[in-house]
Subunit: 341 residues, 2 copies
């Protein structure tokens, strides 16, 4: 441990100085970043979108299996995902962090390195925030700001009857990745000599530990002139997000079970844990994919897109929200979501 | 306790719905508030300023003596104070809150009522955020956004030699208010029958529990055409903030001990606790007053302002940062600030 620096050695201002040295500003709308009472931004003609999320140790992440660098990356990505779901371009973030005294300077640098990487990947400037102490676990609270041309933001409320329901990537992987990590943690606690069995589950474990915001799909949709009528990111689970879109748009929906995108590893892991894969797909959450609707006239634009699956259609509100199987049978969908309290 | 509602009864979405019902949007730049993946703002020609602060139970506040309504108010005010220190007008906030399971719906409503009151007083819209659970104490993380005409923001870096150093209100009160609250807490813990002795200390206790951001002075300065050359809010203590201004402006400063504004209750409490009042004034912190500099040509505009004291002058960097007494003796000032780690 002799190569590690306790936080008390640097102090708050020293720590902030050291972390900030690595921060580069690249956004033209960032006039002033860290170093004053507030950052200064100049979005010009554009509208800005603002979203904020907080992650707490023991509630949202478990440091026994979550490397700090991945955690830093994820904390930024989940906020960028909300910006993506507005059809906007992320531009700046502010980061508030509370650290227990047990943290070393090097550990905090790992966390920041993950955030810095995410900022680099998404083209985002870290422009401010607050570093303080916590008597208990690590707390990360991030606010992300993005830009969108006036009137171009996509809300949850624009879905219309007959719209196609689409989702990016595949679903359920992050949830099953978490089950695997929890199992290996239990095994490790029972026998600290054991080596975790993750080799053939890299993909789904990675989906849990280091999810990506689907900015790639947003850029692509803009290029192909696909503008969704409604959009939301899948953080609580597909079913829960679909309920939000239907409630805010005043519509119903039918999802086709066979069209739900799922990775082979997710199916294998579901079987291993004796979990219904459809439940994992619908209610697993933390996929950070995008759920959106497009007019049926956009069918040709989305049908062969490698990262987009057409999973259903918007119906009249009176029809409710249903899951249909290949035999044409329909069952009302349940939104489970997460109970935080 | 039968009239209190456990959080689990409402659930996350129910709680958010109940809290949001009371939120009104008044800012013309708020296009969409709570209810989507992100809020939408339209600042138009203006620049925006962004600041973020996190408060943790057991570190920044003690719920044994801090009423939740005051805490909610303070959490907003300390962020608005940073916006004020940029010479900007606060317009929106996002609020992230983590709550322990012990909280009742009514307790959370108290907290939000304080935030709502602050929003109303400062003319700010609550446009987004995140409510989640905490395994330990309460965490509040707020991001505040403000507007300022292009190029009009006041930074810490603009102080020039011979500028007057000014401060609003009085200093040291919040720190001594905290000493009193801590003492009464100890007394209460020793004897739960005791009644707290706060009658003749209302002012300084109030300064600790429910500080105000000095937006009133900012509005007034704008009306009187006073534009500071540099500004910072006093959160860590006057000395620490003065060091920031001097470092970023590349100047020195002399503060006149006899000009430091202090309330009678602060002096009395300092005597009671056998604390040097000057140390409390210089290093107490949490006053949320504004420390700023103006050109000497603005002397007539500030000299008789009831809320502004001229406490010193900016000097050449080589002279350092000094405290002068009435006999003309000068001593180097120490910035103590707060050690968070």
């Amino acid at each position: 441990m002799s190569n590690y620096t306790p936080l008390s050695e640097l102090g708050e201002f020293g720590l902030i100085k050291r972390l900030n040295e690595k921060i580069e500003l690249t956004q033209p709308s960032t006039i002033k970043g860290i170093g004053d009472d507030a950052a200064i931004l100049e979005p010009g003609e554009k509208q800005i979108v603002v979203t904020s999320d907080m992650l707490l140790e023991g509630v949202h992440f478990d440091l026994t299996f979550c490397p700090l660098k991945h955690l830093g990356y994820k904390a930024v990505a989940v906020n960028v995902s909300d910006i993506a779901a507005m059809y906007a371009k992320p531009t700046q973030i502010t980061v508030n962090i509370a650290l227990g005294a047990k943290y070393t300077v090097e550990a905090v640098e790992e966390l920041y390195e993950g955030m810095r990487l995410a900022c680099e990947n998404y083209g985002v400037d870290l422009v401010g925030g607050d570093t303080t102490s916590s008597r208990t676990g690590l707390v990360i609270s991030i606010t992300a700001i993005g830009e969108v041309a006036k009137g171009n933001a996509v809300l949850r409320s624009g879905a219309k009857e007959n719209d196609l329901i689409c989702v990016t990537g595949d679903l359920g992987a992050a949830y099953l990745g978490l089950q695997i990590l929890e199992r290996e943690k239990q095994a490790f606690m029972a026998d600290p000599e054991m080596q975790p069995q993750l080799e053939d589950r890299q993909y789904i474990v990675g989906r849990q530990l280091r999810p990506e915001a689907r900015m790639d799909v947003i850029h692509d949709m803009k290029e192909r002139d696909i503008k969704p009528t409604s959009m939301i990111d899948v953080s609580d689970g597909l079913a829960s997000e679909l309920f939000h879109i239907c409630a805010q748009s005043g519509v119903g929906a039918t999802i086709y079970k066979d069209n739900l995108p799922v990775d082979e590893q997710t199916l294998e892991a579901a079987m291993e844990f004796k979990l219904d894969p459809i439940t994992c797909i619908l209610n697993g959450g933390e996929d950070y994919e995008l759920l959106f609707t497009v007019p049926i006239s956009d069918y040709d634009k989305v049908k062969n897109h490698p990262d987009i699956s057409i999973i259903g259609k918007i119906t009249d509100k009176s029809e409710g929200i249903n899951l249909a199987n290949k035999h044409g049978q329909s069952f009302p969908l349940q939104a489970q979501g997460w109970q935080h309290f």
